[in-house]
């Protein structure tokens, strides 16, 4: 596959960049936080008007069918301005899972709503904090024509704002996924503020009754679709981290060119120059990792999972390096809340944990590579 963006993908990227720098600059995030809010509903409305929530959704369900490379370039730009939205969680991750696993009726029921941005869905899988899906203890018991779900889900970002929860159950029969309305009887959310000014929800399902058609796919048959979804989440979250790395790096290099110490621009110090050059190379390398993983999703190639975990692991390391150097090279001012660089470090912390951290994906990578 040729590793450059197509003309359409490049256009989408350019327009995302223009829109986000205009409508969702860092100052918008700061204003949201200072107002005590934890999400940006108006921004989501605007994104929805542009059709973004439908980027990965097939045309048949009112999506744009633009693919994962498309979603990735938008996420990269979102990473640059730290725009907050349910794009990744609902329009990319949850939509992909429904599209993989759902019946024709279920897709028709949910996907157009997600594509229009009116319905937001979120994956409620992890119970350990470590994205350890082998330890899922939430149960589904058959009851009449439907099921009764019980269990606890942990750290579902923006879970309290979503309309629909894609609840993963485990047990001896294997993994299953149920589409559960957040408002359903027996569902309760405990929300907590997290470091990037969003909220995460710990969700309790206490004997939640759902009808038979809430089950996506077959009982115990979700493993393959979940693997695909992990790949989607990993590669797309890597794209967001790439955007954070690039923006943090550019701001830092800009600062090196302007800040003076000991009578010289600090950018003249070779110690800093070499570290900046190394970081630049790492970012170039992570760009390729992300693009390859996204392309493999679009092609559904056999190397999809290996590439996705590679990209998530690599970008987790690089974004840590980029944000640490960002703060360090800015010095004291980089530590102040008044200055924006800390926002990147905070969002990076959330992205690094989301959908499996470095250790999770390095382990998955090794396992997939046969050792």
């Amino acid at each position: 596959m040729v590793m450059i963006l197509s003309e359409e993908q490049q256009l989408l990227k350019d327009s995302a960049k223009a829109f986000l720098s205009e409508s969702a600059p860092i100052s918008a995030l700061r204003a949201m936080r200072d107002a005590g809010e934890d999400h940006m509903p108006e921004l989501w409305t605007k994104m929805s008007e542009m059709g973004w929530p439908g980027i990965v959704i097939p045309d048949a369900y009112s999506g744009l069918e633009f693919g994962y490379v498309g979603a990735g370039v938008v996420l990269e730009e979102m990473g640059r301005t730290l725009a907050l939205s349910p794009f990744l969680s609902s329009a990319v991750v949850a939509a992909s899972l429904i599209n993989q696993l759902g019946s024709e009726q279920q897709k028709e029921r949910y996907l157009p709503g997600i594509a229009s941005g009116e319905l937001t869905a979120v994956l409620a899988a992890d119970e350990t904090g470590y994205f350890d899906l082998s330890s899922i203890e939430t149960t589904a018991s058959a009851s009449g024509d439907g099921y009764v779900l019980s269990g606890n889900k942990r750290g579902v970002i923006d879970g309290h704002n979503a309309d629909l929860l894609l609840v993963v159950t485990g047990g001896n029969d294997g993994m299953s996924v149920f589409a559960v309305e957040r408002g359903a009887a027996g569902v309760s959310c405990e929300t907590r503020l997290i470091v990037d000014s969003q909220c995460a929800a710990d969700i309790t399902l206490d004997n939640v009754m759902v009808s038979g058609d809430a089950l996506l796919g077959s009982l115990g048959g979700a493993s393959e679709a979940m693997e695909f979804t992990i790949d989607v989440a990993a590669a797309c979250s890597a794209a967001e981290m790439l955007g954070i790395s690039i923006e943090t790096f550019e701001r830092t290099v800009g600062y090196l060119k302007e800040r003076e110490q000991f009578g010289s621009k600090i950018g003249t110090f070779q110690g800093l120059q070499h570290r900046a050059a190394q970081l630049f190379a790492e970012i170039e390398v992570s760009k390729s990792a992300v693009l390859a993983a996204l392309q493999a999703l679009d092609a559904n190639s056999g190397k999809r999972s290996v590439l996705a975990s590679m990209a998530k692991a690599k970008c987790s390391k690089v974004v840590r390096n980029a944000t640490e150097e960002g703060v360090q090279m800015h010095g004291g001012i980089g530590m102040t809340d008044e200055f924006d660089i800390g926002f990147f470090m905070k969002r990076a912390a959330v992205c690094r944990q989301a959908y499996g951290d470095y250790h999770f994906h390095a382990d998955r990578f090794a396992t997939l590579r046969g050792y």
Partner: protein
Amino acid sequence: MENLEQFRAETREWLEASCPEDMRQPMRSDEDQCWGGRNWVFTSEGQKLWLERMAAKGWTAPRWPTEYGGGGLSGSEAKILGEEMARIGARRPLSSFGLDMLGPALLLYATEEQKQQYIPDIINGKIRWCQGYSEPNAGSDLASLRTKAEDMGDHYLINGSKVWTSYADKADWIFCLVRTDFDCPKHEGISFLLFDMTSEGVSTKPIKLISGTSPFCETFFDNVQVPKAQLVGTLNKGWEIAKYLLTHERAMIGGFGLAGGGMKGMGQMAAAKRGTKDGRLRDASLRSEASSFEIDEMAFGLTIERITDETKAGQGTGASSSILKMYGTELNKLRQELFMAIGATDALNFDTDSKGALVRSWLRSKANSIEGGTTEVQLNIIAKRILGLPA
């Protein structure tokens, strides 16, 4: 040796009798420290008693001379006191820039009158000090400071501002670098002054950090009058005291590299939280990172011991404080990264209660390699002063 054993026995007995139960609990956060000062509100009766009892013996400053209220202990005795305090998990009775920084400088550079006036109140925690060093835009280039002290006959008139003043909004007095001569190289013409933060013309403004807390302030001086008796050391030779204090500060910050007393090891903590398989931490990648960290942490702790012992034996290597500062702070940043990995999604909590402590502490640690002289400045010092590499 017998005397030391006797000292240990007596100390153990006294500590058992004197250290209140709640002062033997591990600190849960920075909030549990006792800083003292005019406006201090003790968080418990135990905190108050503990400070009073230790201060009465001079054991807030165990090695300082008894004539100013210090403990007058030898190095070996002080080590035993530390060991015995650690044995029962006793908290430090007083956290204080007076103890850690100003005091040692006063003992070296102040007049007898100044020592009599300031040291006892440091030891008993009556006066809380802050440090006025950094200035806006000076950054690592500390000596380029511009806060001005004009000679007005019987007093100096101070105008200017400081930044990164730790707890300036809570301190009673400040020890402050000011420029007393503008017509000379920047390292000359600096003087070292002490003055009361309630003096007319002093104001502070807390700086909010990315961690959400505000341990630092901007501090402004608008025609502040300082009696000349409050100059320490020689006029225009304050940079010498400043360097001495920076060295002390580095060694202190380098201590960040040490694990907290009585804390579980990183790997054990990870195993407890993440779970084990066949007796090994379940996550192999995390296990490798934890062992690599613990190896460095242990070797670093031993290095502090070794350098301390060498210094006592007169074998010190000069810029060791730069090594400790650089290594210790980088190590602490790594420690906090590992805490975050172990804490996983729970660690992202940013609530203002104790649930948010982990991520705030992680964010706070990023300043370790900036404050007290950046890692880059320490590396320059090592390269030039120890290794003798050319400029």
